[in-house]
């Protein structure tokens, strides 16, 4: 076997859940390890092969001054850089600090904020370096991860959906929670990908009789203003909608714009 794709996995601020998705590919893990050289993956291997790497998977968002430098090194070491998960693609849940006073955040958690070095923001990887491809999700779908790795090994572009969660609800036969129950659901704005789309078991939250809360971030064509206006007309408070959109992918531009517009609206008479 010559020239196996050399894969590296890097972590920034995150919960490790997206990296874990690789280890959660129980049926495929050993085949992946046969097909790809997992050269750097701290969570799973002590062996560390120096770069350059063919593919770097990056989990997590940029939240410290040190990370700003480290992502540049990671970028230089990787031919293709793929961000995995909501933290790496949109700043993650920790991007809630971007709307807050970080000094206040500090004081509530740490007795000695002076011991901590952090940025006032949590930002996606693409704010700092060029990104070749992104896998959405909080967490990513292991089915999409396998698709991505297979495509990379065969030098093809990965196929991932760009349509909304609503399409998956229809495919699955889930009754719309927004229309039938008046639940504010982010399905119309959110990119499909949760669950297993191949078996028609996507749109996992509405299938559990609850709202989609946007784990996979904004889909291609988003009209957040229209959707939130609809929910407001149904009596859903603005603040509820602000928080629904300010979630795991809340700092993605389309979601950010939606929640910020709602907030501005509240301030006007």
């Amino acid at each position: 076997m010559v020239n196996k794709t050399k894969l590296a996995v890097f972590k920034f601020a995150s919960c490790d859940g997206c990296q874990l998705s690789l280890l959660d590919c129980e049926d495929e893990l050993l085949s992946v390890a046969d097909a790809v050289d997992i050269a750097y993956f701290l969570e799973a291997r002590s062996r560390r092969v120096e770069g350059p790497y063919d593919v770097g998977l990056v989990e997590g968002s940029i939240t410290t001054p040190g990370d700003v430098g480290r992502i540049q090194e990671v970028r230089r070491a990787c031919k293709y850089l793929v961000t995995i998960g909501a933290c790496a693609t949109a700043g993650g849940i920790q991007a809630l600090r971007n709307w807050a006073n970080v000094d206040d955040f500090f004081r509530h958690v740490y007795a000695h904020p002076e011991f901590i070095s952090t940025l006032n923001t949590s930002t996606p990887i693409s704010d700092h370096v060029a990104v070749d491809f992104e896998l959405r999700g909080c967490p990513i779908s292991k089915h999409q991860l396998i698709e991505l790795l297979t495509a990379l090994v065969h030098h093809k572009k990965p196929t991932t959906p760009t349509h909304s969660v609503c399409v998956e609800c229809k495919k699955r036969g889930t009754v719309c929670v927004a229309v039938a129950q008046g639940i504010a659901c982010l399905g119309p704005l959110t990119q499909a990908g949760c669950g297993d789309l191949h078996t028609g078991r996507g749109a996992i939250c509405p299938a559990c009789n609850r709202e989609c809360f946007g784990c996979f971030g904004p889909q291609d064509q988003v009209n957040g203003a229209s959707l939130t206006k609809f929910y407001q007309q149904k009596g859903i408070p603005r603040q509820t909608l602000v928080q629904l959109t300010r979630n795991f992918s809340g700092y993605a531009p389309e979601f950010r714009q939606t929640s910020d517009s709602l907030e501005e609206q509240e301030e006007s008479p």
Partner: protein, 445 residues
Amino acid sequence: MTSEEEPQPTERRTIEVKAISRVEGEGRLHLRVRGNVIEHVELNIYEPPRFFESFLRGRQIHEVPDITARICGICPVAYQMSSCHALEKALGINVSPEIRLLRRLLYCGEWIESHVLHIYLLHAPDFLGYESGISMAVDHREKVERGLELKKIGNDLLEVLGGRAIHPVNITVGGFYRAPSVRDLKALLPRLEWGLQAALETVHWVSKFEFPDFTWDYDLVSLHHEDEYPLNEGQVASSSGAMIPIEDYENHFQERHVEHSTALYSVKAPDNHFYLTGPLARLNNCHDKLSPICLKVFDQTGLTLPLRNNFQSIVARALEVVYAFDEAIRIVKAYQVEVVPSRTPFELRPGEGCHATEAPRGLLYHRYRIGEDHLIAEAKIVPPTSQNQGQIESDLRSYLPQLLSLESEEIAEKSEHLIRNYDPCISCATHFLKMTIDWNSDSAK
């Protein structure tokens, strides 16, 4: 170990191992040795702070289990369970016995998934001389495949109950958004039965590993429940004798902020000592609540309680996997009709509540105050790794003297192995674990 046997380097050596691997999250370990004196041990967790306790304030009650799950991708259920129980206490909600059992089943899924990941892919390679589960598979393919299948069953259980294995979506205050179908749960039975047998084989396998000679008189802290092995409920038991209601937790355990770590350190009153949580603590404190099949297989290993060698936590973990399969089978068999309602109705009100559950790696405490506006006014979360962190350093201080004759690289490896006993979840607490050893014997003795 006597000083005569040690290498006597004449100049100061600094050895750096880039990062501790096969742990969840990253951090750094700094060791300074002068001759045979361990001068300084510092576990430096500098995972960037993510401020969960801050941004939970002002959020709605039902958002809490979805948000706290994101503290950790390996044990999200633990965060969801401690959150739900604490908020239910604040709101005066009593869930039905059926929901209680389904939550127990959910936790079994997480214990299986997390413990098996640790045993097969992260920890066993240390005992067998491999750098990873992946390279171990070259010589022990069947074993690794068995581990992967076991882990998959745990994840499938989580999917059926939680809608998703990582960050389940079906968990809410008061119960579940939707009860699992009887058919979907029963369909898991044959694999759960297979898993129980494979888990028993796992106990036999890991109990034959060669364990480093290191026992310690730990203060073992875990939940203890009168009738069952603790998952979601119980009082806080300590091997030093205390039995503490969860409501009193903060009077006995306190967090301290130290300069070298973003993770807070927990200490136990009255003398502010470190303590151990996790599988070894649970096994020692609660072994009488294990099912007969667990006790029988433990008996067959030839090991005896109390088990005070933390390298044998892998055996305790394997035993808990047996327990989790056994308990899961019991619960699934008893599940005959879908639970209605799957979510206990409640009215929002101001209040305060705290709760602790047993995350795979140890006790996890949450406290919330709900304000007059019915939103979260205050949140406090004490993850297991921050509770174990002081004990990890203490173990290293005690264990290092017997390693000093080794090459520095080996010392680093063996220290990492010791740290892995704890299955530390550094993401929970906090990133880059870099190990440096300053070795200066110039002025020794």
